[in-house]
Symmetry: C2
Subunit: 221 residues, 2 copies
């Protein structure tokens, strides 16, 4: 095995480790918010610490790889994809922390606000998060495209939730704080979906050479 191949394998392993930690963090944050589980919220903060360390390791590995081993063609595309995917994963870690904070506020809050369609959105986002890393590691175009179509469903459900929560607040102004916490959760879930979409797009572009970014079908709001 050449030194370059060895370093690329090392990068792949680190990316899988990062991805798995981010996935666990997201799962815990969703349990924290949906089941109002305090312990799950605390677990998210522990994952975040490890995610931030690996984020820096991956960045350093990429710089070393480019500086010392000068990868070409498909290897170079893989390295750049890894750098870009890592940025998205790190942000997904931040979002799981945001959800954990909202979950804490939900748990501390006094009123009992209904979860409406939030568990449904959470389920879709969890499936997107699982698939996008598989798409990267296996260079699987169909899986990447599947992530993109799920994102559209998440956006639609989030809009429905938004209107449900507004009419809930208008009917019962004492529930405003809790409803805002739920709105935050739906927003963070939607952004997780956006990052999973970004990763799928990066896979399609860098690994397969298919350009679909900024095509209008996957814009972020």
């Amino acid at each position: 095995m050449t030194q370059l191949t060895e370093r690329l394998e090392q990068l792949k392993t680190k990316m899988l480790e990062m991805s798995s930690l981010v996935e666990s963090g997201i799962q815990c944050s969703i349990s924290a918010a949906v089941q109002r589980d305090q312990d799950a919220a605390e677990a998210v903060f522990k994952y975040e610490t490890r995610i931030n360390l690996i984020d820096l390791e991956i960045d350093r590995l990429v710089v070393d790889l480019l500086a010392l081993h000068q990868p070409m063609a498909i290897d170079l595309r893989f390295v750049i994809a890894a750098l870009k995917i890592n940025t998205n994963l790190e942000r997904m870690g931040d979002l799981s922390v945001n959800i954990a904070h909202s979950a804490r506020s939900l748990i501390d809050g006094s009123t009992d606000t209904p979860m409406i369609d939030i568990p449904l959105i959470a389920g879709l986002v969890e499936s997107m998060v699982r698939k996008r890393m598989d798409a990267f590691i296996q260079s699987d175009v169909d899986l990447a495209r599947n992530v993109l179509s799920t994102d559209a469903a998440v956006d639609t459900l989030r809009t429905i939730c938004y209107h449900q929560l507004i009419s809930f607040m208008e009917k019962d102004p004492t529930s405003i704080k809790q409803a805002l916490n739920l709105l935050d959760v739906t927003r963070y879930l939607e952004r997780l979906g956006d990052h999973a979409t970004n990763i799928a797009e990066i896979v399609l572009f860098y690994v397969k050479g298919i350009e679909i970014r900024h095509s209008g079908s996957t814009s972020q709001h």
Copy 2:
């Protein structure tokens, strides 16, 4: 001038063009939201189209640079910094579009909700956005650090706005929709501040070798 130097100059020029478009988009989106200016909101969408094109051009330029010219040491750090900064700039363009959408809803809305401290936050974010690109181009550490301290002020003001808007909604439930639009604007402004912070951190790390990411002082919520 070597081919590498020429390509690096080309990259710097494109980055400045991208940055200037993003800055203009942000200024228009702030005018749209703060002064309820419909024309400014429409201008944001035009900037976005050009931003997306240059985003792709920069990505391609970076891949070509790495593949064909194999930059080393400080040049390599510059190219990686450019790639990472470009990701942040593109997201800032998306956020200006988000603000423009909220501005449209504010303009269409019926009630007259007060702007509270939003113009103040907007002013701070505009100053951060200006300084961070100067910091990159001039490799100016003090300017980059200045961006980081302004971000803390933005976060504090945003929390104050959040509580003001909640009590506003509780007192007058008919204003909930408009208050949520304003909450969205403050959130997008805060995220613009976060991206300016990211860029300042990238400048410090890649250009000057100072690592302050994940040090706890600039976490994102």
